[in-house]
Structure formats: structure tokens, C-alpha cells
């Protein structure tokens, strides 16, 4: 503006007719979603360290449990390295909920959310954009983890149908985690609170489960906790569909005895609760 006296004639240009007017609301929603997802990916391009959480960290866990703790934990009827990958996979994806939670609560504390709200973009596209971007991040996490698993001696030992089922379950589980994270991000007052919530909720849920050790190695009370813990059920379902060794169980519960249907049900239930809750929360949080 300083050296442009000759160009200060800033005209109100002919309104550029939006080129997408003939689009259906669904197409518009999808194109808005991709714009918001692209924004998240641009953030990662600027701060690549953000990806360490979903790549390097799970990798460390694989090495730690395969080579450091692995020797001390015995699995009846199987190899611990085959056992541990399913556990680390679910644990990493569960911790992934802190990603959308932090991103969304950061946006809400900054002015940029008002800019988005004053634009004619589809209202829910902001949340679905986060979902798409986070899902891509989690997919990367799965690829890195399973790749590392293959190197340390993990493998698939089941038919294509079951393996496909396992990936479908992972997809649903990731979705559930992202929407829980979205809800947390919309509820907490500051981004700093997210890590606390993550540790208080996710940490016990993933460790009081069959993710790292067989359930029957735990004290009696914890065995009940672990047997009812949804994380155990999802881990058991993934192991079964991958054809990996299962955790030996001391306490029998219906979900853990039927992990595959139970895991799908748990994920569906979480999505049914947290998607509408997030949408409602977004509406109330961003209007006055």
C-alpha cells in the first residue's frame, strides 16, 4: 500500500460468479470439506513435527515392546511380536484422538473460526474437514505400524475376508476416536487441557486391557476391568481377524467372548453418540 499510489484505484470488481452454483448441496459440502482438510494438511506441511505423534511414536513402541519388554512377557500358543502389534495399533489410534481435539480447540480460541463462520461454506464442513484430514493421518499411522510389524516378525495369518474385516474395523475405530477427539476439542476451554484429558481417559483405557499383556496375568479386580474394557474387545477382534495369537482370558464376558461383533457394535455406538453430540456442540459453541 505504500508504493502503490498509481494502483490505489481499487475497484470493486465484477462479482465473480461462483462457478459451482449448479452443484448439489452434497457436492458443495464435499468440496468445502476438502478445502478444510487441505488446510490441516497445509499445517502439517508447515510443522512436520506434528506427524511424529502418529509415526515415530508408535514405531518406538513397537521396538520397545518387541525387543525390551517382549522377552519378559510369555504368550501361550504364540509369538509375543505377533501378539503386540494389534495392541500397539489400537493404543496409537486411541491416542490419536488428541490430534483433532488440540486442532479444534486451538481454532476456537483464535479468530479464524469467525472468518469461517462468516463465509458461505457449508456449516458442518469445518468438522468433516478435520475428520478427513485426521483419518488420512491415522491411515499413515497404520501403514507405518504394520510395516514395522512386518520387519519385527508380525504377519497376517487369515483369509482375505477376515483381513478386510480387520481393516474395516480399524476404519470404524479411527472414525470413532476422531469424533471423540472432536467432541473433546469442542468442550475444553484451552488447547492445553487436551493432553490432560487424553492422559486421564486414554492412558488407563489402553493399559488396563489386553493390548500389552494377557488379561489372566493381572490381579483379579483388574481382570474384570480389562475383560469389560472396550479397548480389549477391539484389540481381540483385530487379532482374531489378522490371525494373530489371542490374549488368554481369566474372566469371561460376552463382548470378549465374541470380540468381532462386539467390536463393531462398540464402534458404531461411539459414532452414534459422538457425531451428533459434536455437531450439536459445534452449533452451540459457535453461536451466541
Amino acid at each position: 500500500m505504500t508504493a502503490t499510489t498509481e494502483t490505489t484505484e481499487l475497484a470493486r470488481p465484477e462479482p465473480i460468479v461462483p462457478t459451482l452454483p449448479g452443484r448439489t448441496p452434497l457436492r458443495l459440502w464435499w468440496s468445502d470439506t476438502l478445502v478444510f482438510a487441505g488446510r490441516n494438511i497445509e499445517h502439517i506441511r508447515q510443522i512436520p513435527e506434528k506427524l511424529l505423534d502418529v509415526t515415530l511414536q508408535p514405531l518406538m513402541f513397537v521396538l520397545l515392546f518387541a525387543y525390551v519388554f517382549g522377552g519378559a512377557i510369555a504368550i501361550s500358543g504364540g509369538n509375543y511380536r505377533e501378539f503386540i502389534i494389534g495392541g500397539i495399533l489400537i493404543q496409537s489410534l486411541a491416542f490419536g484422538l488428541t490430534g483433532p481435539a488440540t486442532a479444534i480447540s486451538t481454532d476456537l480460541t483464535e479468530g479464524v473460526i469467525d472468518r469461517f463462520r462468516s463465509l458461505p461454506a457449508t456449516r458442518t464442513a469445518y468438522l468433516s474437514g478435520h475428520y478427513v484430514a485426521e483419518l488420512a493421518g491415522m491411515a499413515l499411522s497404520v501403514v507405518v505400524l504394520l510395516g514395522a510389524g512386518l520387519i519385527v516378525g508380525w504377519g497376517l495369518h487369515n483369509d482375505a475376508l477376515h483381513v478386510t474385516g480387520a481393516f474395516l474395523l480399524l476404519f470404524l475405530f479411527c472414525s470413532a476416536m476422531i469424533w471423540i477427539g472432536t467432541y473433546i476439542g469442542l468442550v475444553v476451554r484451552t488447547p492445553d487441557a487436551v493432553m490432560g484429558v487424553g492422559f486421564v481417559v486414554v492412558f488407563p483405557l489402553t493399559f488396563l486391557s489386553n493390548a500389552f499383556v494377557p488379561i489372566d496375568s493381572m490381579p483379579n479386580v483388574l481382570q474384570w476391568v480389562a475383560a469389560w474394557n472396550p479397548v480389549s474387545v477391539v484389540v481381540a477382534a483385530v487379532r482374531e481377524m489378522f490371525g494373530n495369537p489371542a490374549s488368554t482370558v481369566g474372566k469371561h464376558t460376552w463382548p470378549l467372548d465374541h470380540p468381532i461383533p462386539a467390536a463393531f457394535m462398540y464402534c458404531a455406538l461411539l459414532l452414534l453418540v459422538f457425531v451428533p453430540a459434536s455437531l450439536r456442540r459445534y452449533r452451540t459453541r459457535t453461536s451466541d
Binding site: 505504500t2 498509481e6 490505489t8 470488481p13 465484477e14 462479482p15 510443522i47 463462520r117 462468516s118
Partner: protein, 333 residues
């Protein structure tokens, strides 16, 4: 530098109703009315200045008109579209530059503008072209690929303004656009705004500075504690409150009534007296010379410590209009 498709013509949108109207607009937060009974009628291609202190209700009014907030009472329409019934329709027709810069610090300036264009449903090509054009016009071309978080306050403001212009909106809302800008940037921004308005844009801007409203606005609404205390053209307002003030500083508080008495015939309104600062502020009749005041004071035997002529400030406006310049209790927005 850039002349192609943004030739300014009074085109299609100029024929559609591009003004802003409001009737009885009010917003209550809990027990507090942040805004009460606001009536507006902004004709297309004119500028309305909302003048008031922090917490006077300016931002609340802007937030309602830009669909970010729903009114507790009243109705409003922007470019012929009702803000409550069709918020999406309003958002298609407005540009907003908020008080707090609303750009994404973790993206480049160019990417910010492209994102805004895409969310206005421009094609990728149009969005990019528009971003290039606006960055050039707002003298940010050299910083196009720089991360916004490295921008200075003034650059951020300009980018925010660029973002509000992406869709070439018929109605523009600017919430304290020049707060925190140095005088040169402020003048540049004023010039820019005048260009936009000359070419048919309707603008509503808020400001705490009487001078700014006087410079830019065709109409001024003065808000105080959520209520409209004055409404008119800058000329009408100035005729009502007078433009010039002369501050007389004395050595002792007992001299203050004497000053008021001695200068009575030059005052267009009751002078204001500040007992703490020992200053009497005289709203002088137009054409009064400083020398006349000096002679009058001298004749009355008053030894003035300081004599200072200045333009009326917002505080003076409130003092004159409401009889108080108490503006410290803020309404949360």
C-alpha cells in the same frame, strides 16, 4: 499493474438492493443489554460509521449483521436478505474484516486468500487469480508466500481486508479497521475504502475516533451503552456538538468557575470542568480565535497555565450528548 477483469462497473449487483436495514435490533447477554433498539437504513453505496467506546455495542451490532450472532429483538436485512431467515444468503453477499485478525497464521498469505475464495465456491483458478490480484492491490505481493504468523500487525490487517474482499461483496463490514495502525497505513486504508465505496460498495465501519467517522462516513450512529444517542450526517452531528474545543488549564481549582464565567460568550455549549486535571474545556463557537479567549481570561485576572485548541474527541461528543463521559463500565461482548 493490474487492470484486467476487475474493471469497476456498476454491474448486476448494483441493481439489487445492496443496503443494510435494521429495526429495533437488540441483543441481551444474561441481564445486560449489549445493544438496544438499533435502527439503521444504510443506502447502497454509502458508508455508515458506528461510533462509540469499547463496549458501546458496536461489535455486537456487526456480529448480528454478519450472522455471527442472533438478535434477541428486532430484524435486520443485508443486501436485501434477512439475517435470521437466510444467514447463508447474507454470507454470500458480505465481506467481514473483524477487529481481531481472522487469518490463519500457519498458512501463507496467498493460501489464506485461496482458501477463502474456495469457501466462497469460486473455482480453483478464479480463487488463485483473485488472491494474486488482491495481494498486488494491497501491496502484499512480495509477502504472498510468507507465513502469516510472521506478519506485522499492519500487514495482517491488510490481509484480513483482502480476505473480506475476495468475493467482491456488495456489503463490507469493518470492525475498527484502523485500530493499531500507524498514521500512514491508516490513511492508505481510508483511501482504499473510498475507492471501494466510489465503485458501489456499501460499508459499515465501527470506530472510536470521531475524525475517522467524519472522514469516511456518510452517516454516523453514535452508540453509548448499547443505545443510539445520536444519528445523522457528520455535518449534522458537528453542528450539534461543535467541532473545536479549547482546553484552559489553571493553577488552582478555584479559578475554574471563573474561567467558565469569563468565556461564556464564546461557548456553544456548557463547558466541561475537570477538577483533578484543573482543566476547563470550552466548546467554542465556530470562528472563535484563541487570542479572544486569552484576552477574556486576562481581563478577568485569570492566570492560565496552558491554553490548547483541538478538535472535538469522542469523549467530548459523549460529554455534550449525554452529559457524562463515563465510559469505563464495559458491557461484555
Amino acid at each position: 499493474m493490474y487492470q484486467t477483469h476487475v474493471r469497476h462497473t456498476n454491474n448486476a449487483t448494483a441493481t439489487e438492493p445492496g443496503g443494510v436495514t435494521a429495526q429495533g435490533l437488540g441483543k441481551r447477554f444474561g441481564e445486560l443489554w449489549a445493544l438496544r433498539d438499533l435502527d439503521l437504513d444504510v443506502r447502497p453505496g454509502t458508508v455508515l460509521g458506528l461510533l462509540g467506546h469499547n463496549g458501546a455495542g458496536k461489535t455486537t451490532a456487526i456480529r448480528i449483521l454478519t450472522t455471527l450472532s442472533t438478535p434477541t429483538t428486532g430484524t435486520a436485512s443485508v443486501a436485501g436478505v434477512d439475517v435470521v431467515a437466510d444467514p447463508l444468503g447474507v454470507r454470500e453477499r458480505i465481506g467481514v474484516a473483524a477487529q481481531q485478525a481472522t487469518v490463519d497464521g500457519l498458512m501463507s498469505a496467498h493460501k489464506n486468500l485461496v482458501m477463502v475464495g474456495r469457501l466462497h465456491h469460486l473455482s480453483k483458478r478464479d480463487a488463485r487469480r483473485r488472491a494474486d490480484d488482491l495481494l498486488a492491490q494491497l501491496d502484499l505481493a512480495e509477502n504472498a508466500d510468507q507465513l502469516v504468523k510472521t506478519f506485522s500487525g499492519g500487514m495482517r490487517r491488510r490481509l484480513d481486508l483482502a480476505a473480506s474482499l475476495v468475493a467482491a461483496p456488495p456489503v463490507l463490514f469493518l470492525d475498527e479497521p484502523t485500530t493499531g495502525l500507524d498514521p500512514r497505513s491508516r490513511n492508505d486504508l481510508w483511501e482504499l475504502l473510498r475507492d471501494l465505496v466510489r465503485n458501489g460498495t456499501t460499508a459499515i465501519l465501527t470506530t472510536q475516533y470521531l475524525e475517522e467517522a467524519d472522514q469516511l462516513a456518510d452517516d454516523i450512529v453514535v452508540l453509548d451503552h448499547g443505545r443510539t444517542v445520536a444519528h445523522g450526517t457528520p455535518e449534522e452531528l458537528k453542528a450539534q456538538i461543535g467541532t473545536d474545543r479549547i482546553d484552559v488549564t489553571v493553577a488552582s481549582a478555584s479559578d475554574l468557575p471563573l474561567v467558565v464565567q469569563a468565556t461564556e460568550r464564546f461557548a456553544s455549549y456548557a463547558p466541561g470542568v475537570d477538577h483533578d486535571l484543573l482543566v476547563a474545556t470550552i466548546p467554542v463557537v465556530e470562528g472563535t480565535r484563541l487570542m479572544e479567549i486569552m484576552r477574556a481570561l486576562d481581563a478577568a485576572g485569570i492566570d492560565a497555565v496552558d491554553l490548547h485548541r483541538r478538535q472535538a474527541s469522542l469523549d467530548d461528543v459523549f460529554l455534550t450528548l449525554t452529559g457524562s463521559n463515563d465510559s469505563t463500565d464495559e458491557v461484555p461482548e
